[in-house]
Amino acid sequence: MKKIVTSIKRTPMLLALVLIALWFFPSAIIAPSESAVNAIVTAVGLDKNEQDYEVTLMTFLSHPNQSYSEQYEVISCSAPSISEAFTNASLQIGKNISLFHTHTAIVSERLLEEDIASALDYLGRVASLPQSCVLISTNVTSKQFLEFVQELDKESDINLEELLFYTSNYVLWKYTTINSFYEGYYSPVKASILGHLTITQGDVNGIPIKNTENVVGLGSSSGGSSGGSESSKSSGSQQSESPNQTNGAQQSGGESQSSSSSNQLQIVNDGSCLLIKNGKMQAHMTKEQLRGLNWLNSSTSGAVITLENFSDQTFDEARLIYKVQREQVLDKVEFENGVPVYTANIKLFISLMEANGSKEELTESREVAYISDEVRELIEKQVKTEINSSLEFLSTQNCDTLDMYEKFYENCRAQTKNYLQTHSLQPEDFLKNVVFKVIVSLFPV
């Protein structure tokens, strides 16, 4: 005993080590790997039917092998609240749900009919869903969407992550994440944009999948209630959900049952998005409308401008396609005679990508930097038209996703406050009253 006391006195850390050894070592020895007790969820979908919330999880399930391969299973559970649905999902698979690796959250349009802020808030707070997680909406139920994506992943090399990454970077020019949703939600104008992916069939430019049997409610041969996947079976009552419950999928789902193999279901990334106001869906925004807004975003590039039936000294009835290599927007906010005026000076650095129907001057028509006065005029007109159309749409929907109010508030604070007071306006109504002046200048690259 004396020896032990002496050795502890000499090296007190020995005691600490013994303490750790006695206290934690046994539990460490028997502790399983965290990934074995947690279900790693990479995508989460939220739906709502009449009474219940339905949570769908795309979960990584391990399969013993010596190589890298990701195999996912779609699991869904429903309950009156999201937390209960998560608890049910945990019970169902016998693992804790870990949302730390979740990169995508999908909400159905149906769910967007009500404020989704509280639902997402739960996920963020309790289930540790990263705020950087991409948030998108879909026309079908999120469960159907994830099942479709799972099939797509099996059949092709295209995966959801890469698709969304491209969309955010080159179509929306904006990341639509949970945080960006909240940022709009908590802003004075209470508006934000949400990415949108559609599953549909017909003559559209999408990525088809051959095997749609496992996609509940959309399956070409299975019909609504006879979904085939193991995971789908486990989702219990939700399998009986009719495809009619969805908005956009109503026709597509119904038609798909009788469709031929050539008329496959497709995931369509057409660049459209949703306008969200007060946490609810306000309107669909088409690709063209989005493009109109993106002209005011200086970080965009790569847009293509097409001039049909173009004639000048070089071309005759030609089709010219220009690509915007770089864009620069110099904006100015000011009050002119008490009216808010937004002036955007857009500088487009463009090059001619494709031309057919040239006259004889081949040398000139092959010039990438070809910008004649006619070209200049037409492009300017086209850009302005697109911008005006988009702004009109935003004004109609009362969605200030351009943050006009904040821009004016930041630069002309007193006048903006005064303007709102005198006109008895709310910040969200400010956009309607802004006068836009757009100047487009073209530069050859």
Partner: protein
């Protein structure tokens, strides 16, 4: 007596300056002063520099004396003991706060199902052993890791540039909210006070003073940049994000095979919190031995451990409750101990009847 060099003093001051500021505070301040929290931060950081100048003056006037000796000589032993008792309480609260903030942070970010005792054990063991080794080894260790810590913070800030959204709207807070915000969270500042309490163990010359100021300027700049980046990235959702240093990295939607790069921030906070608690605990023990001279450092440690373990096990306070509780009482402690006491000390140096002149 084993003293620490001016560089080590600068490192200790730099590490202390990070305390309580880089995780929860930006979010808490935002609730009061929105983006103008940056100005609250800047003002209170300037106050730290003012305190530092007072410290230099005091150190020059009393190069060999301890802070306790100065105040007991000028105010009487009884008053000195009461002041030191208050300081002990204040430091204890600060340690509790740093521990709780770090605990919640680690729990949320990296330890999902870990036992609560892991945190308690690691913090107590490491900090106790550091204190037992003495100030010099502790300062040397801090010196060893300081550039690593700074590099990690810079790395986090550089990564966050990719997530930069837009500059927040400044000067948009009412004066009352601005000052209330600043007042409420005064206790998250003023860590230079600990240098006063260690002044007899610090070797400082003119060059050394400049070095301390230089180091603190770098750290202050990093903290200010962190706040600006934080508000620029999160804008209206700033109040939701309670882990500033991590969140500015993980905010971004990036597909990367590197995984979560906030591990850098997590390791940085681990180092910072362990150092901050160790230094504060060392000062706690120093103060304890001044109040109870016959009892040594070991008794101070035992007292702290018992109090700390007891409070942590019995109370169910989390850091938010602790902060809210702190906002009621601690600002007054902060005003008296952090700002008034050094000012009084500045007055002592004005008379000319100080140690240096006597010598």
């Amino acid at each position: 007596m084993k003293t620490i060099s001016s560089r080590q003093t600068a490192v200790i001051a730099g590490i202390l300056l990070f305390a309580n500021k880089i995780l929860v505070l930006p979010s808490l301040l935002y609730e009061h002063a929105k983006a103008d929290s940056v100005f609250i931060l800047a003002i209170l950081l300037l106050a730290e520099f003012a305190l530092l100048l007072i410290f230099f003056r005091l150190k020059r006037a009393y190069p060999k004396s301890s802070f306790y000796q100065i105040i007991s000589q000028k105010m009487g032993v009884f008053a000195a003991k009461i002041i030191y008792f208050l300081i002990i309480l204040y430091i204890f609260y600060k340690i509790l706060l740093v521990y709780n903030i770090s605990y919640v942070y680690f729990r949320v970010q990296v330890y999902l199902d870990a036992s609560f005792y892991i945190f308690l054990l690691v913090f107590l063991l490491v900090c106790n052993s550091c204190v037992m080794r003495g100030l010099r080894p502790l300062a040397r260790c801090a010196e060893f890791f300081f550039f690593f810590i700074i590099a990690c913070v810079v790395f986090c800030l550089l990564l966050s540039i990719a997530n930069f959204n837009k500059f927040p709207i400044f000067f948009d807070t009412a004066y009352s909210d601005f000052f209330l915000g600043g007042f409420k969270y005064l206790f998250c500042f003023g860590d230079v006070l600990l240098l006063f309490l260690l002044m007899h163990k610090i070797e400082l010359d003119k060059k050394g003073e400049r070095q301390v100021v230089r180091y603190l300027l770098v750290v202050s700049a990093l903290i200010v940049i962190l706040y600006i980046m934080f508000f620029s990235i999160f804008n209206h959702t700033s109040f939701v994000h309670k882990n500033a240093l991590s969140d500015i990295i993980t905010f971004s939607y990036r597909f990367t095979d590197l995984g979560r790069l906030d591990m850098v921030a997590i390791v940085t906070v681990m180092f910072l919190s362990l150092f901050q608690i160790s230094i504060a605990l060392y000062v706690f023990c120093e103060c304890f031995t001044q109040i109870f001279p016959p009892l040594g450092k070991v008794y101070g440690l035992i007292t702290f451990d018992l109090l700390f373990v007891g409070l942590t096990l019995i109370s169910t306070l989390d850091y938010l409750q602790l902060t809210q509780l702190g906002t009621l009482v601690m600002p007054y402690f902060a005003i008296v101990l952090q700002y008034l006491l050094p000012l009084v000390c500045l007055f002592f140096t004005l008379g000319g009847r100080h140690e240096k002149n006597r010598n």
